[in-house]
Assembly symmetry: C2
Homo-oligomer: 393 residues x 2
Amino acid sequence: MDIFEKCSQFTAAKEAQAAGIYPYFIPLTGNEGSEADYRGHRLIMCGSNNYLGLTTHPKVRQAAEDAIRKYGTSCTGSRFLNGTLEMHEQLEHELAKWVGKEAALVFSTGMQTNLGTISAIVGRGDVVILDKDDHASIVDGARLSWGETKRFRHNDMTDLERVLSGIPDSKGKLVVVDGLYSMGGDIAPLPEILALCKKYGARLMVDDAHAMCVLGGGRGTAAHFGVTEEVDLIMSTFSKSFASLGGFIAGSADVIHYIKHFARALIFSASIPPANAAAALAALEVMRDEPERIARVNQIGERMRQAYQAMGFNTGNSQSPIIPILIGDTMRTIFVWKALFEAGVFVNPVLSPAVPAGQELLRTSYMATHTEEQLERVLDVFGRVGREMGLIA
Amino acid sequence: MDIFEKCSQFTAAKEAQAAGIYPYFIPLTGNEGSEADYRGHRLIMCGSNNYLGLTTHPKVRQAAEDAIRKYGTSCTGSRFLNGTLEMHEQLEHELAKWVGKEAALVFSTGMQTNLGTISAIVGRGDVVILDKDDHASIVDGARLSWGETKRFRHNDMTDLERVLSGIPDSKGKLVVVDGLYSMGGDIAPLPEILALCKKYGARLMVDDAHAMCVLGGGRGTAAHFGVTEEVDLIMSTFSKSFASLGGFIAGSADVIHYIKHFARALIFSASIPPANAAAALAALEVMRDEPERIARVNQIGERMRQAYQAMGFNTGNSQSPIIPILIGDTMRTIFVWKALFEAGVFVNPVLSPAVPAGQELLRTSYMATHTEEQLERVLDVFGRVGREMGLIA
C-alpha cells in the first residue's frame, strides 16, 4: 500500500476552504499586539497568548536586536556541544530565581521542554499520571518516555486518587498537570493535588505555560496557591507572556542536572538563538519593573468574564484572562467565528478532537495592552453576533 | 519509590566536572563565526554547523532586526491559530522552489519537523524504516507515530532490502535516511535506496539538515545525485547553514497539506518567530547571490580531509566538510579534546552512546568563512597534539 494514500483522501480542510469557512492558518500581514491585519482588514486580537503585550515592548525588541548584533542570528548547535552561551546560563539563573527554585534549564521550544523533561524523568518501571486536559506536548512527552501513562478526569481529585492508589509503591510516580488550562481558562487545584501526591509518594510537575506572568504576581500557579516549595518541577514557555519562543523547567539542582544530561529534546536540538533568549530575559526584567501589567491583564479578564456572563454567554469554569465561549456544535462555532472575524474580532475556534465533541468553543484571551475602547468594541460585536446567531437572547 | 532517586544517583557528569575533563555545555562568551571565546580564551571554531558562516552576515542580521521592528519578537501562538504571518508562507514558497518541490511547511525547530512529519505520515498499520545512524529526532518521530519501526544497518543496501522484503505489501512503508550523516560526514546512496523503495513500494524521506546549502549546489543530497523528483519528502533545518532555528519539510502539495493538518509538533507549538523566519529567508537569498560560499566550504572540507589523512589520522568515510577523527576510546577522546581546546581549537567529542562503544571520535566541521591562516593553525595544533597523544607518528 502507498503510505501517502491517506493524504489524497483527506479532503475536509479543502472543502472548508472552498466553502469560505476555513478558520485555520490565517496569514496575518501584521500581528503587532492588540490589533492585527489580514489583507487590509483590521482585527482586534482576542486570540493571542501575548498576555502582557511584551512582543512589541521597546526594551524587549531592543534586547533581541542587541543580541543579534553581538552574537549573530543563531548558535548553530546543541547546548550540549557548541551552542551554549553565557547568556543562556544567565537566563536560567534569573528564571530559577523568579519562580523560586534552585535551578532551571532552557529549551528551544516549550513543546521540547515537556518532551525532554518527561521522557528523561519517567523511566522503565515508572508511571506518569496526566490530567485528561493536559497539553499535547505533555501527552507526547509521556509517549516518548519508557514508563507507563495513566490519566485522570480533568481536575477531578477523586479520580486522581483512584489512579494513584492503584499504582504499586515500588514504582516511581510523576503527576503532570497544567497550572492554568489553555482552553478552559480554569486552574488546577494544586493544594489538593499535592496532598494526594504526598499521600501516595508521587512527584508533581506543573506546566505553567499560560499562568506564568499572569497568576501569583507573575510567578505562576504554585505562587498563586503559596505552594512553590512543594511543587517539584515548574515548567513554562517563552511563547506566551515571555514574548519569544522557548521554554524552561525549574526544580532542585540535582533533578535539573539529570534532565540536562538525559533530555533528548535538549541534547539533539539546536540551542535557543541569542535573540529569543534575550527577548525572554528582557521580558522578565520588564515584568519585574512594570508589575502593573500583571494586575491589568487580570482586571481585564475579570471584567470581560463578567460582561460575557451578564450578556448570557457560557464561559465555563474560566478564572483567568482566558475566557472560552462555549457553543457545543462544530458548524455553529465556525459560523460565529466567521461573523466575529468579519466584524473585526479575532478569536480561535476550538473544535473536536481538540475538545470533546459537543464541547466546541471559541477561545478568547486578553492582553494587558488592550484598551478600554478595544474591549468595548469586542463586547459590542459579541453581543450583536451572539443575538444574531441565537447564542444569547 | 521516589521517581527522582535516579537523579541523585547520577554522578558521572559531576565526577568529570571535578576532574576538569567535562567537555559539554561550555558557556561561550562569544560565538560569532569561525572564532569563539571562552572566558578570555580565543578558540578557532571547528565544531559548528554554521557551514556557510551566515549567522553574522550583514544581510541576515539586518533581515532579523527588521522583522523584530515590523512584527515584534514573537507571534505568541501556533501557526494553526493566531501565529501565521504572510512571511511564513513566503518562506515556504521560496524553500519549495529552492529544493525543487511543489510545497513546503515550516516548523519552529528541525527536531519538531521530524517529530511532526513522521508521526503524521506513519499511521497504524504502516511501517517506518530507519538507517541505524539516523538522527535522534527521526527515531523519536517514529516512536511518536502509531506505526511499526524497523531499522537497517548504516548505508547497507543488502540490509535495507532484507528489511523491505520482509514487510507485507498491504502495509504503507516510509524509509527515512539522513542525506549527509552528522557524525560520520558520509552520504546516503540515494540512487540505490530509491531503487529499493521503488521495488518494494516504499516512499523516501531524506533529512538534509547537514547537506542543505552544502551538497548539490546547495540544494541538498537529492540534487547532488540528480534524484530530486524521486525523493518524496525533503526535510531540512534552519539551525545549520540557514543561520537560524526552525525546519521545513518539502514534497507534493497533497502530502504537505496533510502534514499541515496532522502534525502535532506544528499544531500544538508556537510558530517560528519573525526574526528566525526572516534570518532563514535572508540566508536563502544570500546563498543564491553568493554561491562561492558553497564551493568554498566544500573546498575546505576536501583540503582538510586530505591533510588529516596525510598526517595519518583516521577520517572514516567522510565525504564532506564534516570530518570525524576516529579515536575509539572514551578517555583518550576526552584527553585529545582537552588538549585541542587548551591549544585554541574547539571540536566536539562524540562518545558512547551517541556512537557505538569503540567508535568514539572527535567531530570536526568547517565553514566557508574559515581563513587559510585559521585552517593552517588547526592543522598545526592537530599535528602536535596527535603526535603527543600517540594518535599519529
